[in-house]
Point group: C2
Chain length 426, copies 2
Amino acid sequence: MSEAATIARPIDAADLIADMGARARIASGLLARTPTAAKAEALRKAAAAIRDAAPAILAANATDVAQAQTNGLSSAMIDRLTLNPDRIEGMAAGLEAVAGLDDPVGRIIDRAERPNGLVLQRVRVPLGVIGIIYESRPNVTADAGALSLMSGNACILRGGSEAAASNRAIHAALVAGVTAAGLSADAIQLVPTTDRAAVGAMLTAEGLIDIIVPRGGKSLVARVQAEARVPVLAHLDGIVHLYVDRAADPAKALPLVVNAKMRRTGVCGATETLLIDRSYQNPRPIIDALIKAGCEVRGDAAARAINPLVMTADAADWDTEYLDSIVSVAIVDGVDAALAHIAAHSSHHTDAIITEDQATADRFLAEVDSAIVMHNASTQFADGGEFGLGAEIGISTGRLHARGPVALEGLTTYKWLVRGSGQVRP
Amino acid sequence: MSEAATIARPIDAADLIADMGARARIASGLLARTPTAAKAEALRKAAAAIRDAAPAILAANATDVAQAQTNGLSSAMIDRLTLNPDRIEGMAAGLEAVAGLDDPVGRIIDRAERPNGLVLQRVRVPLGVIGIIYESRPNVTADAGALSLMSGNACILRGGSEAAASNRAIHAALVAGVTAAGLSADAIQLVPTTDRAAVGAMLTAEGLIDIIVPRGGKSLVARVQAEARVPVLAHLDGIVHLYVDRAADPAKALPLVVNAKMRRTGVCGATETLLIDRSYQNPRPIIDALIKAGCEVRGDAAARAINPLVMTADAADWDTEYLDSIVSVAIVDGVDAALAHIAAHSSHHTDAIITEDQATADRFLAEVDSAIVMHNASTQFADGGEFGLGAEIGISTGRLHARGPVALEGLTTYKWLVRGSGQVRP
């Protein structure tokens, strides 16, 4: 190819991601050795920069929102897109909260001395370069950037096209903070195009991007999982079960069920299927309370016999994540049947039991194969913040690397350090 | 489709793997709750069954070897394929060794009590179903089956077609031991066909197989990584570097270099590139010792100036895993240049430094981004057995989930257990 032809070739998505990835790799090498205090300072300076830039961020967001209204986006999507001074302060406070988290990098997982005198340590190190693909919420730019940086990783952010101006404004403030602290501007990069080909290039950027984290609805996550050649840390459905055992304390069961289903119906920890032991003495108040709270209850024949307002559940209901004020209710023959139902229908996110029988609880905790298994607690606690992680980049329903809420530690790996005094292997 | 048509349809590879996977999933649920002692007993009974079946295994192996000779396989491949009484005893002893390892299942990774009284634990659980795809070494059937079982996982084994009869005989002994201990025969399954389509079906068996472990040469691993939709635990090249710093003790450096390169040249921990600090006082004895040991030395101009027997290294040499009595040698300007060379050429498997300067050693250990980084030790120690893991299913050069030597713990994941007393989320 002649030089002229090279120059004339348009920059395509793969070239763009290759360039960003190469710069991210260099930045990640520096970040991996950046002390905790410097990373925290960068995030605090970024928080200050977000606050200083609030007028510019709000102006950029107003153009995104106006465009979204012109394009006829749904009111729910426009709500997710819209920023206000409270949401901007929330982003800044979130950056400061991440700055205060324990730094996993350098933590020694274990240590062993071998009979030949070799001393082995496994030490936590950052994953490297994280690609984050998200949709309309602009606050993800700040949240994901902060978690990546504090865990010593460089990141490449690709937000939704409808939030492009907002994301650019937030990203500019992040970079201002990061560089003010003396770190590389390439530590947090934002894909500068809303061309969908850039997503494809990220998903196939093996060797450039070490892990992809999709944050968004089912269709985004499904596309990412279908196309990615880079490992993906993702959660799909949260088909969450709550089982009320015969030995449940009714005074606990009723508020737990109502909270687990109705506190917030749109979160992945919201209960979607209620299983009630046929031997539980007083199921009616639970059903009545759900209906009174505005929940549509769909049940099997036995559930419908409890209250005539219960509607008929069809086969699809047992495999549906409603994310709405709807619950499916099955009456089951004790913990065996509950375990069988959960094994058949759970999405392995979160499942819970209510019982005062410790042996039954222990069995449920041992046998349910989900990322989070709870006893006498609301499934709405399935959240990195509630787990004390300080934040979360997602809840993994995969089995490898990290499971359940993922925060800083889940964005690290480890290496083996071997210290000797001249040992040769016999 | 009519019933007759259903019956007439041939069983294809996807159906076969779907059936094996479904049975493996049930077995994995049982194995996850099988006590350590029962798993160990199964492996000890399998070891006894292997010893009892030695004549049958040797007879089956003889047919494989005869077929391989007829097919004109290389002598190296026939050597890997061939069993003898010592190798069979080695397999049996290996099963007993795995039976004696610490069981990671049920181990509590960490525990926290939240201000609201919720008690959280992360507890190790098996991955589920492991698919192992390997080549001509029949002992992998026993090794991989044992590591999977002891870590509470069901496995689906797919060995090389050239070892089919040997693998069937070994597998039969394993199943005899497993069932004699009262465990499910589906815990260790062997794909009964050597049809290559079965490999493709395993690689795309998402939801049926939780992780694929390829064990074999580069072409196998490359095919698996290219085609797999199931996560893969794999290592590709071991382009291993050994850096002799200016502050290296010559009395340690010479035997370390010779051992790291020449002890066994075909293992992934064998040194492939030797980097010597230009300020190291006495490089000639090292080069001479390698040549005397039968190693072909290929070097840059400065290395060739040390000894005229050094041949010319070309650009490809710096990226080559020889697995042979060949080494590339570069003379570098201190630890900075060594780190830059390693960053550019390492396969992130194992890299090592020889120095008496603690600050230089610490910097090398911190900055080299490889699964294993060593100081004053032979790179030939890169091995799960030498690391005290008791065995290894492979050495991962990937960054996610497990890195470096992988044994029982690397075949587990964790779940979160949350114990409450009726807490609802505000």
